[in-house]
Symmetry: C2
Subunit: 233 residues, 2 copies
C-alpha cells in the first residue's frame, strides 16, 4: 500500500508525533510506501483564498469550489495544494494524525482539508459518499486527547466520540469516498505515565499491522436515495 | 446588549457578508452595541503555535493550553489573541457567521476558536458546559451552505445539520458556557435567486429582532454527573 500520514501538532516532541513515527516504522516494516506531511514543519497555509489561483474563471467574485475545479484542470491552482493533492491521489491509505482541539482538528489541518480536497476530483455533482472521487481508498483518524474514555459514549458527558468527529468521519472522509476505519484514540495523554503511553504505542502498532483487515464504518450509500437525494423506500 | 460578530468568508461580496451586514444593521437599530471581527479582512492567523507566547512557562515543550492559562495572566500572550479575547469578554452575544466548509467552519475561523478561547478564562478544571467560563453569554451560529434543506434531518442523506455542527454547538460554544441558540441557516445559497436571498435576509432580521426571547438548545449540565464525571442516577 501507499500511505500518506498528515500530521498536525505544534510541539515536535509530542506524543502525537510519537504516534506518527510509530505508524511510519510499522507500515514501512510491513513493506508499505509511506509519505508524511508534517503541517507545522511545512508551515502549511490553512487559509482558503483567492490567492490559491494564479488565474481565475471569475476574477470579480470568488466561488472557491468552482475555481478549484477549473484551477486543477488549468494548472492555475497553488503549488502547495497540487503537491498535497498528488500525495493524496497516490495514497491507498490516508492517516490523519492530530490532537483533538475543540472536538475537532487543529485549524492547520482543517485548512489542509479545505484546500486539498478539491472539487472536481475529490467530489462534485453526484460523486460523493460511496460514489466519491476517492472511493477505493481507506482513511484512518488517529487522535490524542485530554479527556478520559468514560467521558465519551452514550449517556457520557460528551456523548460518543464518533458523534463529535462526525463532520470529519462522515462529512469529509466518507463524503469524498474513503472507506473510513474506526479511529485510533489515545485518551488522557497529557496526564498519563510513560508506561501508559508506551502501551498506546504498542496497541497502535498492532492495529496498523492488521489495518488491511479492518472493516469500515457504515455510512449512507447513494443507492438509498433518489435523484433529488430524497430517501428511497 | 454588546454583540460580537465573527465573520469568515474569502469573498467580500458574498451573501454570507450580506448576512453579517444585516445583523449589524438590525442589532444597531435595536440599540445594541456591535463589533465585527472580519477574519479574512484582518488576515487573522489561525495557527496555534509557540509563537503565541512572548515568554513560556516551559520553553522546551509546548503544552498549548497550559501556556494560554499562564500567558493570559502574565500578559505574554500574543496581542491579536488578547484583542479578540477582550471583544469576546465584552460581548453578551457572540455570532459566528460563516459558510459551511466540510460541514464545519472555514479553517481561519477554527483558528480563532483554537487561539482565542483560552484555557483559564473560557474553561479549565471543572468550569465547562453550564459551569463554563463564558456562562451568562449567548451564542448564535449563522451559516450559509450549498445543500438543500431536505438533505438534512433524520433519515436524510447527511443526517441532522445540528449533528454535523455538534463539535461547534456542543463541543465548543456550550462547552465554554454559552447559551447556544438554534442556528440560522441559509440553504442552497450558490444556486438561488436574488429574491430567495432577500427572503433569507428578511427572515434573519426577524430572527435577530427577537433574539433576546430565543430559548437555548439543551446540553449536559455538570449537576447530572459526579465528581469524576460519571453520569449520576
Amino acid at each position: 500500500m501507499n500511505v500518506l500520514i498528515v500530521h498536525a501538532h505544534p510541539e515536535p516532541q509530542s506524543f502525537t508525533a510519537a504516534l506518527r513515527d510509530q505508524a511510519l516504522r510499522t507500515l514501512e516494516a510491513q513493506g508499505h510506501q509511506v509519505q508524511v506531511s508534517d503541517l507545522y514543519a511545512m508551515q502549511w497555509n490553512p487559509v482558503a483564498s483567492a490567492a490559491d489561483f494564479s488565474s481565475r474563471e471569475n476574477p470579480d467574485y470568488l466561488v472557491y469550489a468552482l475555481e478549484q475545479r477549473l484551477g486543477v484542470k488549468s494548472q492555475s491552482i497553488a503549488a502547495d495544494i497540487r503537491q498535497e493533492l498528488d500525495k493524496l491521489l497516490w495514497a491507498d491509505l490516508l492517516i490523519l494524525n492530530f490532537p483533538i482541539f475543540w472536538f475537532s482538528t487543529p485549524a492547520i489541518l482543517k485548512g489542509w482539508i479545505d484546500r486539498v480536497l478539491v472539487s472536481g476530483i475529490c467530489y462534485g455533482g453526484k460523486r460523493f459518499y460511496d460514489q466519491g472521487g476517492l472511493s477505493g481508498k481507506k482513511a484512518l483518524v488517529s487522535v490524542t486527547l485530554g479527556g478520559r474514555e468514560h467521558m465519551f459514549g452514550e449517556g457520557a458527558i460528551h456523548g460518543p466520540l464518533n458523534d463529535m468527529l462526525r463532520p470529519i468521519l462522515r462529512g469529509t472522509l466518507a463524503y469524498v469516498g474513503f472507506e473510513v476505519l474506526e479511529p485510533f484514540v489515545a485518551w488522557h495523554v497529557p496526564y498519563i505515565s510513560d508506561q501508559a503511553r508506551e502501551e498506546f504505542l504498542v496497541a497502535y502498532r498492532h492495529r496498523l499491522e492488521q489495518v488491511a483487515d479492518d472493516l469500515p464504518i457504515e455510512f449512507p450509500r447513494l443507492s438509498q436515495f433518489d435523484e433529488a437525494l430524497y430517501p428511497l423506500g
